[in-house]
Symmetry: none
DNA sequence: CCAAAATTGCAATGTTCTTTGCACATTCTT
DNA sequence: AAGAATGTGCAAAGAACATTGCAATTTTGG
């Protein structure tokens, strides 16, 4: 199985943890190391600490708790294992002919993303990101399955500290939202495959009201192109009946990444606030407490 | 092929050298960087200097001669290209170098997808698809930004003709939904980066109630793995603070594609019904909408 | 509800690593 | 062959980084 290499990487790291005495913050850090092996392999202790929402000191102490001299020692081990997990299944990549529908879908998405990567003009994304950053408010209109992309974009943009809202729950809400859009606002219309009537209407209305309008779509539609200042074209061809949301999601991701660099201080502050809220509300999962009687907390 | 990727890596590095003015020691160092990319990606300037038989200062100066600010800058570039050559041979040929945050995000997603493409065991997706197809009902639990993936999956699965619902609007609704889950049902937990407490709870509860439980996650967490019959591991590492949703979306897409082939007749019929509804409700855009508001809905 | 233990954050400390000024060596030109 | 220019090494300055002592806060056990 191609999974073995990666599994062994994660298993290995997990096995080093004294199952009982793993402190909450140490566990949080461990999750980051497991889920972001690339960054863990290269980054500094401080970078990983920030990512895990812990103090730098905790990184060192966790490394020591795992049986290493310190962070550098742990990192060296991580590198070796992560790299071998990358190169081990290297041969399996070639078969591009047949396969199950799911494999074909993945390969198609891979192709689409490669195409997108070559075609996309990054200055457009920068323009949009700066517009969102400067806007008093940003509304994302996304209907049908593309609502998912809109939601993700809005969610992460808010996390980055900007007032971005996705309108996904029907034409009534859409009408209400658009009715208060004005100059200084931004509207992003996300529409693939088939344009929804209401999306086009909203885009035109927002434009008429003086807002800046951008569009994410898979086909140059005159209807949207007229209303939009910039149109981002995204390949959305899927294997089956369904258009693929993967490339659109990648654009959303890229957009948020760009947005996060417009005003880094603002974004950092916003993220810190959000993290504070998460822990305050107890949203994150803590490892189950040990059941065995008589075991000492580490 | 490894050769090709390595070649492009080498070509890129060679091309940066000013053809005329390459000093002997700098050339020697360059050979080391080319022949030992792994060490070049991780090692310190001093280590590489010793390997090339040159002084530490030469490393810094060579990096600057190649157009970088210094050794760290060059090394970062080397890492990106070397890792790409490991994880995405077919992609590394193109521009993998510097760029705006948005381009880097796209490239990272591309890498992640390539990794996913090789790592993913398609039989797992088939198992899940068949379970969903056979289930009386399927519930998708997805919190945080990954609610978007859950929504997309549910939306398209419904389109394919299966009763799939995403629970994304808070713990109260989640509790209500889980309370009626039972044998013959399926629960899919989507959770990345940090596990939400309620997601883990829901998965365990559903398992206890006799439902089949599957998980999509970026790190094999024992908390979810214990409850899940199968765990699909998805790379979610993003460029900025935000975890990337792209690979997760690709998996959702692949899953739906697989699902659509389980019972093609059922899916076709469902899609036809949906199309009929769309046109009946006038949802799709037909004519370009005029700029003036008050246009009659199609 | 209090006391003891432990965990985490802050900040100072010590280490490692990169860069750069300066001097010597080598090469190219006149 | 001598002078100029460039390449290279050495060593110190400077920056980044990991580690650890200490204090505050939280958790555990009585």
């Amino acid at each position: 199985m191609t999974e073995r290499a990666t599994d062994s990487f994660q298993d290995w790291l997990r096995d080093r943890a004294p199952e009982r005495g793993l402190r909450p913050k140490a566990a949080a850090l461990l999750e980051v190391l497991l889920s972001q092996p690339r960054r863990a392999s290269f980054g500094s202790a401080a970078e990983l600490a920030q990512l895990a929402g812990v103090n730098v000191a905790t990184v060192t102490r966790t490394a020591q708790a795992l049986g290493f001299a310190g962070w550098p020692a742990l990192q060296q081990e991580l590198r070796a294992r992560y790299l071998s997990s990358l190169s081990a299944p290297q041969v399996a990549a070639e078969h591009s002919g047949e396969g199950s529908p799911s494999s074909r879908s993945l390969r198609r998405d891979l192709d689409s993303l490669a195409l997108l990567n070559r075609r996309l003009d990054e200055s457009v994304l920068r323009t949009i990101a700066e517009a969102v950053a400067a806007a008093g408010r940003t509304v994302i209109v996304a209907d049908g399955s593309y609502a998912a992309v809109g939601m993700a974009l809005a969610h992460n943009a808010r996390l980055a500290g900007y007032p971005v809202a996705a309108v996904t729950s029907g034409d009534a809400e859409l009408a209400n939202t658009v009715s208060v859009i004005g100059p200084g606002d931004v509207l992003i219309a996300i529409s693939f495959w088939r344009l929804y009537e209401s999306t086009v209407l909203a885009a035109n209305e927002a434009r008429a009201r003086g807002a800046r309008v951008f569009a994410l779509t898979d086909a140059a539609s005159p209807a949207l192109a007229d209303a939009a200042e910039e149109v981002v074209m995204v390949p959305a061809e899927g294997v089956a009946f369904f258009p693929s949301l993967t490339a659109g999601m990648a654009v959303a991701q890229a957009l948020v990444t760009q947005l996060a660099t417009v005003d880094p201080a603002r974004t950092s502050a916003s993220i810190e606030r959000a993290e504070g809220m998460w822990s305050k509300f107890g949203l994150l999962h803590r490892r189950p407490a040990p059941h065995a009687p008589g075991d000492e907390p580490g």
